[in-house]
Assembly symmetry: none
Homo-oligomer: 223 residues x 4
DNA sequence: GATGAATGAGGCTTCATTCAT
DNA sequence: GATGAATGAAGCCTCATTCAT
């Protein structure tokens, strides 16, 4: 699924030309993401979004049914970044440990790139009605699944301890998200790459088996 | 600082009788906490809060200047739980490792007790104007400080590796918060105590030095 | 059922004081009736109604859920005039023929008093959602029932031909309504009392039996 | 005046080809009539009309200046049915009484054929600005004139009482319209032809002179 | 001639806040 | 101190109308 697709996802439009729909929605989402991130969903008016997007307020309603739909599109676009970037980062890698670190690193970097949108996703999911919120949860579960699979592969290969995969996955995911959520403080403490490196060190300690440690030593230069 | 105190914290009231102010504010905060948690801050009206608190809408404005003040009081009351419960949990303990686990465990349990309010704090802090948000950040930093001190003591005692204290503190704090934030999923995976136990195991692996491990083995039954 | 009652009929209010509710609704209905009659329902804004009623727009929504509810109240108040005036006009009369003419005359006179509102009722009933429209139809059927009963009594007494009561009732009702509906033209032709007299003559010709005619001759001076 | 003509009546078009104009307008009017009848004028959007007519929204504005113009065309098309059908029904008849009944019967049958549009005309005339509403009134007066002439001829021929022609004309017209206006109830009571028959009986009683009655008896089979 | 995307004014409705009682 | 009716500003959304293609 590419970025285009999200823009046609689940939200009905009055306009039929698909390319136009995708373009307009991208325009709207870009403006909305910035505004929602800075002022919050409820403080941002549709007029604000329209003005920032350089279109009229009425136009927005040709591509969206609701103000809430705008939020949904924004959130889906963030989650979609994850689902696009993580697979891209591990594509071509075969070693389980390398794949694991690559996935975590990619996750952190997407979070960094879309930092404000990530925070927005944390704060605003509950502003959606239940059915649309469900879409978001599903997407989150999918992303977690990618991390969990990498973790699980390491366990199966005897490189990591036999931990509760799902719980540790949450630790990993949360670690990545924290970079955005606590950025106001963390940025005083270290930079992104250092944050990632510290995390690697921490999780290596927590998870690797002796065999994993030896393997890690060998591939170390590459990560 | 006790619960009463928060209710007199920083927000001006038109009523002079301090005991009454504290009582009324507690009433308002209790109602608001539940409503904000379930419906969100913006979807909850002052009339809703008044009705649930069993008072008139006008009354609220005698104890608060703003709707935002209500939110501030709610958030401060959550953060205050942390600042009350964690010291209580480690009072009387002297062993650094025991104090550490007790602090983390206490944190997780307060989060569990005030689960929805914790989520609210995550979501709604940005709904506050900058100056009032600053109050919240300060409170969060204080709480973190308590955890960081425990961690630091363990490091100084040679029981834990010389990690970046602040970063790891964030991981610990986030671990506790995650129980609330991801409760919708985690509750399917395990109960609170199991969650805590798994976390202890994880952090023990990640943090303990060989000396720490031996010490841990000795005190194990007690945690 | 008196006028007060209609004002508490079927529409929920946020305000509990019943007397106040009745007073405010009467205020709103009076303003709305005039505006809806002159400009039509859709051309009239709630702000217009509020201004004419001398209240704020927000206030209206404490006594009504919808703009459509305002229309409903207006229509019910018109229909209620019928249901109040016609029984009053025939109360105390026992002769079937006298009752019949008194009912028709009363109907015409109420229509005349509430001429514009009557036209409004004709035009606007379809602007209501189905369930509320049903209320209106019921009320209309009740009024028709009163006329039909008078007619039926005359038939039973052998004073009128054995016509299809319901069809003739519609003609009688429509005759009364026409005074409002076609007033723009009829007022050039005759006055109200002349209109009524001509109608009596017409319906007498159409309906009375020979016995009825003799009876009519006797009571003539009284009608 | 035929149906085509109405479509060129009084409303300016940007398109010059008259045949095309008439065709397009007929298309638009057909769609609008149905929608206005079912949903009302204000609830129907130009987009709705365009979709039902199978054209674009922009197209409509090449054949009409206003949304109100669409309504005007619709109403004129209804009134035009009357002005076409009634003369057709009495053409070739010479006996005044036969002409009278034929006119009334024709009126009722057109009302039945265009039942919803007739109701629409009742409800929506006031949605037009004064000048355009005047056009409608004129058209109504013309139709009434045809009925009044038939009635007047009967009176002159001594077949009917010397009633106020205009008032009775309204009774007759209203009788026909009622079939549409009260159809929701009348259809439970009788069919169209029975309704007409009852009306004939009623008006015969009300209007015929003894001479008229004898004449009526002779022609009875023919009506 | 036809299209349909774009505009933007305007209306309904909500709700934080006030104030007379 | 408490009430709750009243206010009115503000926002979401609709839809008649235009205009570039």
């Amino acid at each position: 699924m590419d970025g285009r697709d999200v823009m046609n996802h689940d939200v009905k439009s009055q306009v039929s030309d698909e390319a136009l729909v995708a373009r307009r929605r991208a325009q709207i989402v870009a403006a909305a993401t910035e505004l929602f991130s800075h002022q919050g969903f409820y403080r941002t008016t549709i007029q604000d979004v329209a003005k920032k997007a350089g279109v009229s307020a009425g136009l927005i309603y040709q591509y969206v049914t609701d103000k809430e739909d705008v939020l949904l599109l924004v959130l889906l676009s963030v989650l979609d970044s994850y689902k696009t970037e993580i697979p891209a980062a591990i594509a071509g890698l075969t070693d389980p440990l390398e794949r694991f670190w690559a996935a975590i690193g990619a996750y952190c970097r997407v979070v960094d790139q879309r930092r404000e949108a990530t925070v927005l996703a944390y704060r605003s999911t509950k502003s959606l009605p239940d059915d649309r919120r469900e879409l978001i949860k599903q997407s989150e579960i999918e992303t977690n699944g990618m991390i969990a699979a990498c973790l699980s592969d390491c366990v199966k290969a005897g490189l990591m301890r036999d931990v509760k995969v799902e719980l540790v996955t949450y630790q990993l995911v949360t670690f990545a998200h924290s970079w955005a959520l606590k950025h106001w403080r963390l940025k005083e403490v270290c930079g992104l790459e250092e944050y990632i490196a510290e995390g690697f060190d921490f999780f290596a300690q927590a998870l690797l088996t002796p065999k994993g440690r030896r393997h890690q030593a060998k591939i170390h230069g590459r990560t």
